[in-house]
């Protein structure tokens, strides 16, 4: 790697050391979207995608976000990446509020947080060569010449298990797994402190998915990157993350170290989610089955968001919203009757 490359890396490192804060901190994040108006005489509706989310993620940590479609996990990813502006609340990366930054300042700060997307076929521009795709974040940063970039691209391609010569090929010449490696290489090239991965392996075949998962784990160990890993697949999250947050209707209903969460969930939704996962063992198991489906995010009622589907729901659940409270050892749950699944 060139001298300047090292210099930049050092700047990044000292940046990180100086702030000495969480890589990612999310404070009371809300995001509402207006719905298109249907009638002249009625108010336009709203989608309540996020309703007060708090998160912290330390350096080299890994936080998994799980939940079903419509729980707000992808909205969270977009807000963390500064692709959208929160309705309320704040996203801080390395101690700096990203909504407060603009133009060159934000563009420069972006090298500390990168993203890996779900669709290995859609996330790479089909008309650009791999070398150009991977170097994209560098292009935006500026301050490097073509030779330096080529060197860094070669290095990072090899890190993700591709060949340096692959930079002259087009995305369609690669398989799904290889494309996802290219996407990881692009995220990696600025040596970020945080990588946000939104369903990064869910489009891959199982045999290929395992390769990418192992790659992500190795990269974290080598470079001390923090992951915000969003997935609907609990097994994948369990494999990759130290801590897991479960989301339902735009809120975090439970958060805990992965081991604790999967061994002894406190929220009935987490329990139902865990038990619903089919396991590759012969025979059927007894399980808690939820009725109904996730309700629309267009209304906001009182009480617990999960009350409508919860087998344990009592009158209190419908009237009073349970806060996310700690139950020791970093285990938080938003439930009036944590750990009580009789019902």
């Amino acid at each position: 790697m060139s001298g300047q490359g090292y210099a930049r890396e050092n700047v990044a490192m000292s940046d990180r050391a100086m702030t000495d804060k969480d890589v990612l901190a999310v404070y009371d994040l809300h995001k509402h979207y207006p719905l298109p108006r249907e009638s002249l005489f009625r108010e336009a509706g709203r989608v309540y995608a996020l309703n007060g989310v708090d998160l912290r993620l330390g350096a080299a940590g890994s936080l998994g976000i799980v939940g079903e479609s419509g729980c707000g996990k992808s909205t969270l990813a977009r807000l963390v990446m500064g692709l959208e502006v929160p309705t309320a609340g704040r996203v801080e990366i390395l101690g700096r509020d990203i909504a407060a930054m603009q133009g060159a300042e934000l563009r420069h700060h972006r090298r500390h947080f990168q993203m890996v997307f779900q669709d290995p076929f859609g996330s790479l521009d089909p008309r650009q060569k791999v070398g150009r795709i991977v170097a994209e974040p560098l292009h935006v940063l500026g301050g490097s010449d073509a030779a330096q970039r080529a060197e860094m691209v070669a290095a990072v391609l090899e890190q993700v298990g591709l060949r340096a010569s692959d930079r002259d090929r087009y995305p369609h010449e690669f398989s799904g797994g290889q494309r996802q490696r290219i996407a990881v290489a692009r995220a990696l090239i600025t040596r970020p402190a945080l990588i946000v991965a939104d369903e990064a392996v869910s489009a891959l075949d199982v045999s290929v998915q395992a390769q990418v998962l192992n790659l992500l784990r190795d990269l974290q160990e080598e470079h001390g990157i923090a992951y915000l890993f969003i997935s609907h697949d609990l097994g994948v999250v369990d494999y990759l993350c130290e801590e897991v947050a479960v989301m339902y209707l735009g809120r975090i209903v439970e958060r805990a170290p992965a081991k604790a969460l999967f061994a002894a969930p406190l929220h009935p939704y987490t329990r139902a989610l865990l038990e619903a996962v089919p396991r590759p063992e012969p025979g059927r198991r007894a399980r808690m089955v939820l009725g109904g489906s996730v309700p629309a995010q267009t209304g906001r009622g009182r009480g617990c968001v999960f009350a409508g589907r919860c087998p344990r729901a009592a009158a209190r659940c419908r009237g009073e919203e349970p806060p996310l409270i700690g139950h020791g050892d970093g285990h938080f749950a938003a439930c009036h009757f944590p750990g009580d699944f009789s019902g």
């Binding site: 500064g82 997307f117 669709d119 859609g122 996330s123 089909p126 650009q128 795709i133 935006v140």
Partner: protein, 295 residues
């Protein structure tokens, strides 16, 4: 692997194997036919710029309505002019019309479409309403109005057709660009910190280019048709400039005398338009990303 172990093959079969653009193009029969006809049109225009068998404007009253012969391949018209020479020269006019009017539509239309797609909201609404409005004037009506206002002539006809092309390309490129904007690689570019203008130039434009090229060939063909109609009405190319459309209006007055006069120019228009349409449709098939992408 199978490529290497193939037995020695002719150049053609080697060219047409595989999945590259040219290989697929050479296998596509209507694309080839379209390409041939379009090339012929260009060739006619180029050749006639330097050489024609006879001066296409030179009259010869002793040789009126001559039948096709070795000297005059298609015969002569009511002024004794060599038909073949006129038809040949008429290609220049058609090419000019197509190139200029498509260029006008392309440059303004694509810019508007990309702008609408990049800005969304009010800008998009405005551009779309503008093109809705422009669609209220079908090409010929718009051209008639233009020509009524500015006076008949080739330049005004071309301008009118060009203006008509603007909303066509605006609409098309906005639709295609909107589809591109939803792709994840755009999100990736945004997370890298690229602005809307930069994304439009570096990602959106290259990805909608195939669609635009295809439409450009189709609009080229439509421009030739529209100009021919205007010239037929006497609103386009003025005498003595050779124009296929005007030849037809002259021929119509003579259909009892020599119906063949009405055949050649019409055939020239139809074959040019056919060629361009086949070319455009073929391109669409060949460039189609669903075929070029192998999962």
């Amino acid at each position: 692997m199978s490529m290497q172990q193939a037995q020695p093959a002719s150049l053609l079969s080697r060219l047409t194997r595989g999945n590259g653009f040219w290989a697929r193009a050479l296998r596509h029969r209507s694309f080839l036919a379209g390409g041939f006809l379009s090339l012929l049109l260009v060739l006619m225009a180029v050749v006639s710029a330097f050489w024609t068998p006879y001066d296409p404007t030179k009259m010869n009253f002793r040789l009126r309505f001559a039948p096709p012969s070795a000297e005059h391949w298609l015969g002569t018209d009511h002024f004794g002019r060599d038909l073949f020479s006129i038809i040949l020269t008429g290609a220049q006019n058609s090419i000019l019309v197509g190139v200029v009017s498509v260029a006008i539509g392309l440059s303004f239309g694509v810019a508007l479409g990309l702008l609408a797609s990049a800005r969304r909201g009010m800008t998009e609404e405005l551009v779309m309403r503008f093109s809705d409005f422009a669609f209220a004037f079908p090409a010929i009506l718009l051209a008639v109005m233009f020509v009524a206002a500015l006076g008949p002539g080739s330049a005004n006809a071309i301008l009118a057709i060009g203006v008509y092309n603007i909303p066509v390309f605006a609409r098309l490129s906005r639709g295609a660009a909107n589809a591109v904007w939803t792709r994840e690689y755009i999100l990736a570019a945004r997370t890298a910190g690229k602005g809307r203008l930069r994304i439009t130039i570096e990602h959106v434009l290259p990805n909608i280019l195939p669609v635009i090229i295809v439409q450009a060939t189709i609009q080229f063909a439509l421009a030739i048709l529209a100009e021919a109609a205007l010239s037929y009405l006497g609103l386009g190319a003025q005498p003595p400039a050779p124009s296929w459309g005007r030849m037809l209006s002259e021929a119509q007055t003579l259909i009892y005398k020599d119906p063949m006069l009405a055949v050649y120019p019409g055939l020239a228009i139809a074959l040019s338009v056919l060629g361009l349409n086949l070319l455009g449709d073929g391109l669409r098939d060949i460039i189609d990303p669903r075929l070029s992408r192998r999962r």
